[in-house]
């Protein structure tokens, strides 16, 4: 009987809560009796605290004149000096706009592609064919970013296959990799090439759950495929699209460091230098920890603000359905 009571707290509490039994006591008893559960969760808690919460505390160096000798606590407070240094630096405008444009165009161009792919895949009737198409379309997701950028360098180099064609047509190769004007296009298109198939999974699954009777009824009423997509498939995907869009827009400043850094050449910096690569360079390469932490914090704050704003807008447009 004791064992059963322990198994379900909801039934256990009313039976045990005599006068004088405080909630704390019940909880302590629970912890004593189920200490093994707490042992299990301990490693995850320790890792979270050490590698997530301690750095959050460490982010206060953004407000300090940090020196490794004095440590985080010993260093002197300088208020917002590190932030104003960034905001007033001549690079600020360019870096900020590069970050924003790269993410914004990436979101606008990249967002619809998985949805269109899913709608197209949904029209493939034979399951075996559909499976094989998916197998191919998902594959690029598993290629490492180093290999992706390496392939871009191979294909787009002045003597690479694409320039061989370009030279044949116009007589002159285009310097895709060093020209700042091409950076964003290459970054975004290669991103779509890699991720669109994989991102379509959730949409494909949502479409597979549509009641076939809906489609049958619509067909009998004389609706063609296009009309059924517009009136049945798209409304099905709408809530999912809203959530995906909010999450993507919320991460707009959290754009990946890894690919942009690899794609940087000395020539294309005007468009390829974004806040995360800048944080890395001034922080770890130049060793200006406090300044770099301030730039990183600035970026995170913009992110949170974006998430809240976009969620608000989508909620307004989507009849009160947002992320939260």
């Amino acid at each position: 009987m004791q064992e059963l009571m322990k198994a379900d707290k909801n039934t256990a509490i009313p039976m045990q809560s005599k006068k004088g039994y405080s909630k704390l006591k019940t909880n302590l008893k629970y912890i004593r009796e189920n200490y093994f559960l707490y042992l299990l969760i301990a490693p995850a808690l320790i890792l979270t605290i050490v590698f997530k919460y301690v750095p959050m505390y460490g982010a206060i160096i953004a407000f300090k004149d940090f020196s490794t000798i004095k440590g985080i606590l010993g260093s002197e407070w300088v208020g917002f000096a590190n932030f104003t240094k960034f905001l007033s630096s001549p690079n600020f405008g360019t870096i900020f706009m590069s970050t924003l444009k790269l993410s914004f165009y990436g979101l606008i161009l990249g967002f619809p592609v998985p949805i269109i792919l899913a709608l197209m895949l949904n029209q493939v009737r034979r399951a075996a064919i559909k499976k094989n198409i998916q197998l191919v379309l998902y594959a690029p997701n598993f290629i490492s970013v180093v290999v992706i950028v390496g392939m871009l360098f191979i294909f787009l180099s002045p003597t690479g296959p694409i320039n061989q064609i370009v030279t044949l047509l116009t007589g002159e190769p285009v310097s895709f990799l060093s020209d700042p004007d091409y950076f964003r296009t290459i970054y975004i298109l290669s991103g779509i090439w890699q991720a669109a198939g994989w991102s379509s999974i959730i949409y494909v699954a949502a479409l597979a759950n549509v009641d076939p009777e809906l489609h049958n009824a619509a067909t009998i009423d004389g609706a063609n495929i296009l009309q059924r997509i517009i009136h049945i498939d798209l409304p099905t995907l709408k809530p999912l699209m809203a959530v995906t869009f909010i999450l993507a827009a919320g991460g707009i400043m959290a754009i990946g460091f890894e690919k942009a850094y690899l794609m940087q050449t000395a020539m294309n910096l005007p468009t390829s230098e974004i806040i995360p690569t800048y944080v890395y360079k001034v922080g770890l390469q130049a060793g200006d920890y406090a300044y770099s932490a301030a730039v990183g914090l600035f970026n995170s704050v913009i992110n949170v603000v974006m998430l809240i704003v976009v969620n608000y807008i989508v909620k307004k447009l989507n009849e009160g359905e947002g992320l939260y």
Partner: protein, 293 residues
């Protein structure tokens, strides 16, 4: 049932097939090109492009890559880091997920909140680096394995899976007097092979493909994983050709680096290429479970 297609429908379906076919081509052509090019004589490739004459083919690129110490060491390092990372991630995630799936676990909300906050806020690159540095983990495998081992998404995934295990099993075991320890190791874990598999594969592939942590935490080249070795072959070589003044040496070097570029891509992707067709459906399942919660 048999659907009768109108002329309009048939047109749309044909267009759909054409577009899907194009999508497949767009994905496959660059990949196939790299594989074919890895077997080509680089001089022919540079001057004429792909050729299907047998005399233009060569295994030189593979010989060079397999005889390259940095590449071999990188391969071994990558296997060690990826396996180590996968083991730590899976153990930590499963251990944390089980209590969170138990009904009436005191502190569940507190722990969950602690985990979820980290999905939205982070200390940032520099503060995290300083922690790793202060712990003396720079230039050790721990810097690669520990900081990223806790992935909240993995915990949610495993918890969702555990919740799907019929509760009667726990009940029956409890009545029989089994402890939490026994229930977890004898009942829950043996039923959890699919989720263990999914988490391990995600962790392995993620670590295999990443270079960033290794770049900031490992200075010693002998510790570098494959992706960093690849980076120096594929990317750093081609960005600054101005370094070599001697024309002939440069041509020779260019030929050499061209030769190993393609074969290094193929070799480094080999483990994933071999695994991919078998594991694709598990990965897909992982995405689905994760998106439900």
């Amino acid at each position: 049932m048999n659907i009768k297609y109108t002329r309009m429908d048939r047109m749309i379906l044909s267009l759909n097939s054409i577009f899907l076919f194009l999508a497949i081509l767009i994905v496959l052509v660059p990949l196939v090109y790299v594989v074919l090019a890895s077997f080509m004589d680089p001089t022919v490739l540079l001057n004429k492009g792909l050729s299907f004459k047998l005399k233009d083919w060569s295994l030189e690129g593979y010989k060079l890559i397999l005889g390259n110490d940095a590449m071999i060491r990188g391969f071994i390092n990558s296997i060690l880091y990826s396996v180590g990372f996968a083991i730590v991630t899976v153990v930590v995630s499963l251990f944390a997920a089980y209590p969170l799936s138990v009904n009436g676990f005191v502190g569940k909300n507190l722990f969950m909140t602690l985990f979820i906050i980290t999905m939205f806020f982070s200390g940032g690159l520099i503060p995290t680096y300083l922690v790793v540095k202060d712990l003396g983990m720079l230039n050790t495998a721990w810097a690669i394995i520990l900081p990223g081992a806790l992935n909240v998404w993995n915990i949610i995934l495993a918890r969702t899976y555990f919740k799907g295990i019929p509760f009667e099993l726990h009940e029956a075991a409890k009545v029989d007097g089994a402890s939490d320890l026994l229930i977890f190791f004898k009942i829950v874990l043996p039923l959890s092979k699919p989720i263990i598999f999914v988490l391990a594969m995600y962790a392995f592939v993620g670590q295999w493909n990443s270079y960033f942590d290794a770049m900031i935490y490992l200075e010693d080249p002998s510790l570098h994983p494959l992706q960093l070795v690849l980076r120096s072959i594929l990317i750093q070589n081609s960005t600054d050709p101005g370094m070599i003044s001697d024309q002939l040496a440069m041509a020779e070097l260019k030929k050499l680096s061209e030769m190993i570029k393609y074969s290094s891509i193929v070799i480094s992707s080999l483990p994933l290429i071999v695994m991919y067709p078998f594991f694709q459906k598990y990965f897909e399942k992982g995405v689905m479970v994760g998106s439900l919660k």
